[in-house]
């Protein structure tokens, strides 16, 4: 099969066109946010929030409100719970995070299994971009617009917050506000990512492109662009590959992302393994 056919043939199906466009969009949005997540050291937080949104998704379904709203409430709620437990007990943060998100996730599992609904557990866990509904597409677009818009406006303040929150406070910025902005975006994009790769792999969308780009650049703007490019590339290629091999779309997307990371890790001009060993 020639290469053009490989790319063109799947586009005859409407579901493939939708899937490619949606996963590309989700790739862009998650990658843009992933730069902040990796620099702030929030990978574990991303994992926690993405799992904790599960009961919110189920409850939103029951109440017949947009899933994003339920997910958002539980995503932010889980972080507030983490902060509360950390502040009031002597337990270390990583333990608290592990404890809270698994608790939320387990609650979600129970809800799904006991409440009568048409939610398919495997779709939530592993994504279902090939069967994405028009409502979900609209929701993803809205989330993307909110996230990219917020990042565009607050970019410099968020960078400063991630880099040096003491200075941010000392020039009068509201760091609590910035913290919750970042957190809210994390909850929102977790919902978007959930549609494509599923809860289990969302965290990859939220850290891998940022980590790859971090190895390739010492400039935040370049890093963002590289992350977004690698995010889009992975989403599109992953979706194509999953079509051709008839495999899990979420899995394919994340595998491509991971491959890009490995390439960057070895070949990055300054921070790659080859460059490092050449220096020594």
């Amino acid at each position: 099969m020639d290469i053009i056919q490989w790319f063109v043939a799947p586009l005859q199906h409407e579901f493939m066109v939708k899937a490619i466009l949606v996963s590309a969009l989700v790739g862009i949005v998650c990658s843009a946010l992933s730069c902040y997540m990796t620099l702030k050291g929030w990978a574990l937080m991303g994992d926690a929030v993405s799992h904790a949104v599960m009961p919110g998704v189920v409850i939103a379904y029951i109440l017949n409100i947009p899933l994003a709203i339920g997910a958002f409430a539980f995503g932010v709620g889980s972080v507030i719970a983490i902060g509360f437990v950390k502040a009031t007990t002597r337990i270390k943060e990583d333990t608290v995070i592990g404890l809270v998100f698994t608790g939320f996730f387990a609650l979600g599992l129970v809800l799904i299994s006991k409440v009568k609904s048409e939610i398919d557990l495997t779709h939530i866990l592993f994504g279902n971009v090939l069967g994405i509904s028009n409502d979900d597409i609209i929701q993803t677009v809205i989330i993307s617009v909110i996230t990219l818009g917020t990042l565009a406006v607050l970019r410099k303040d968020l960078i400063l917050f991630c880099f040096d929150s003491t200075h941010a406070r000392s020039i009068g910025l509201n760091t609590t506000f910035l913290y919750y902005v970042l957190l809210s975006l994390l909850s929102l994009t977790a919902v978007a990512g959930l549609q494509t790769v599923g809860i289990i792999l969302v965290v990859a969308m939220l850290v891998t492109p940022g980590a790859t780009a971090y190895l390739l650049s010492d400039n935040f703007d370049h890093m963002t662009l590289i992350a977004m490019a690698s995010g889009v590339f992975s989403s599109v290629m992953g979706t194509y590959v999953s079509y051709h091999i008839d495999g899990s779309t979420g899995g394919c997307i994340v595998v491509v992302q991971t491959l890009l990371f490995i390439i960057a890790m070895i070949f990055a001009p300054k921070h790659g393994l080859l460059a490092q060993s050449a220096k020594n």
Partner: protein, 257 residues
Amino acid sequence: MSEISIDIENVTVAYHGKVALQSASLQLEAGTICGLIGMNGAGKSTLFKAIMGFVKPTNGRILINRLPIRQVQKKNLVAYVPQSEEVDWNFPVNVHDVVMMGRYGYMNLLRIPKARDKSIVQESLERVEMWQMQDRQIGELSGGQKKRTFFARALAQESTVLLLDEPFAGVDIKTEKMMINLLMELRQKGYTILISTHDLASIKTFCDKVVLINRTILAYGNTADVFTEENLSRTFGGSIGDLSLAKSFLTQEERRN
């Protein structure tokens, strides 16, 4: 008499119930450089953090130019350089970016620098002789160069109240002299500068006032009156009375002159 610029009244700070600073009061006029002296753990950094509102005093009140600290910060009236920067040194920002962060308070929401911001950043970097290294990622700087970069950021803030927590720690003699000259120039412009340092030898060369601190303010006033052997020995728990130490501190001063 000029206007009171830093006004600290009866401030007590405790960490988890343990008092680190007891009933501190201090009034600083505009246009003065005040040295803050005390041994490790005396509460110098705590005083700075209390002024910046980063730790909440259990008692007392602090005003800068008669305003509470949040308003002071929003109006770009205060610049603070912590003892050690708690930043990620591998963060993808360069020296120029860091100093530009000192200008954010003057910019619109999108923080797009204007020509004036750029020229002040350049000027600040030139003052600390870091302009040549403006493109360096900050992790690729030496300890002293890092200190100079963050000092330049404080300069770029153009705030008339400067809080400097041990800015000379780890910088070479030449850089320290350069920084002292700069501070003296800023005093001429009416800046109020509170600076903690362990370099007792240089205090007399540039501080108008001195605060001696050990969990509370032991003495405060004009350098000539307060910076005495007797007071210092009180501050350092008698150790400065130790002849060898006093001598080394004298020879250090002589070396400088």
